[in-house]
């Protein structure tokens, strides 16, 4: 399956990545937590930033949790607490 991932603000800068497409074999990940574990294998910076206790997650532009399941063509986003307004 193919998914799109967005990173924003502090996390985007730390990972030096704003957006990416990932091609995954079926069953490779089921939940957001699985995706985070997969991405964390890229190194310490990825692991630290994606395990930040304040990390917020959105799946298809709706706030999600570690247990939210991911499907083909989903759009996942990782970002820190919002500070607009």
């Amino acid at each position: 399956m193919a998914i799109k991932i967005w990173y924003f603000a502090r996390i985007k800068e730390a990972l030096n990545c704003a957006q990416e497409q990932l091609e995954l074999s079926d069953g490779e990940i089921v939940t957001v937590e699985d995706l985070i574990e997969l991405l964390s294998q890229r190194g310490e910076i990825w692991k630290t930033n994606l395990h930040d206790e304040k990390l917020l997650i959105a799946v298809n532009q709706t706030v999600a949790t570690m247990q939210t399941t991911i499907a083909d063509q989903d759009e996942i986003a990782f970002f820190p607490p919002v500070t607009g307004g």
Binding site: F8, Q61, T62, A77, P81, V82, T83, G84, G85
Partner: protein
Amino acid sequence: MIRIQQKDFDSGEEYRALRARSRSPGAIVTFCGLVRDVSDRQSITAMELEHYPGMTEKSLEETLEQARQRWQVDGATIIHRIGKLLPEEQIVFVGVSSAHRREAFAACEFIMDFLKTRAPFWKKEFTANGSHWVEAKNTDAEAAQRWRS
């Protein structure tokens, strides 16, 4: 009406437009947020606003819908700027018209409190010492909590 834009807005014009498209307004409350020139005792030279295109609009639509469910909202406008802003520039405009003033005040403040804690915007401040991402404030989380009752 929800707009995300880089360019500045004319609050007076937005008030007039909101008033014109309201059916029977007895009260119109507007909020405008501006870039302050000082933050944590440091002079701000600029601010940059990042957002999550698509989710931002969706989040604001949901907030507006919740406001409409709780109060009698006649018309409503939310405008939020993105990109680089200078001190004293306008960041955000929220306007609500209603038959009654308490509803207009409550809905406008509710929208701001939810926008502050839900809508995916992030601020980066620039000072003489460099730049830093603004930390989310507990006071904003508390302000949003008030509406749970």
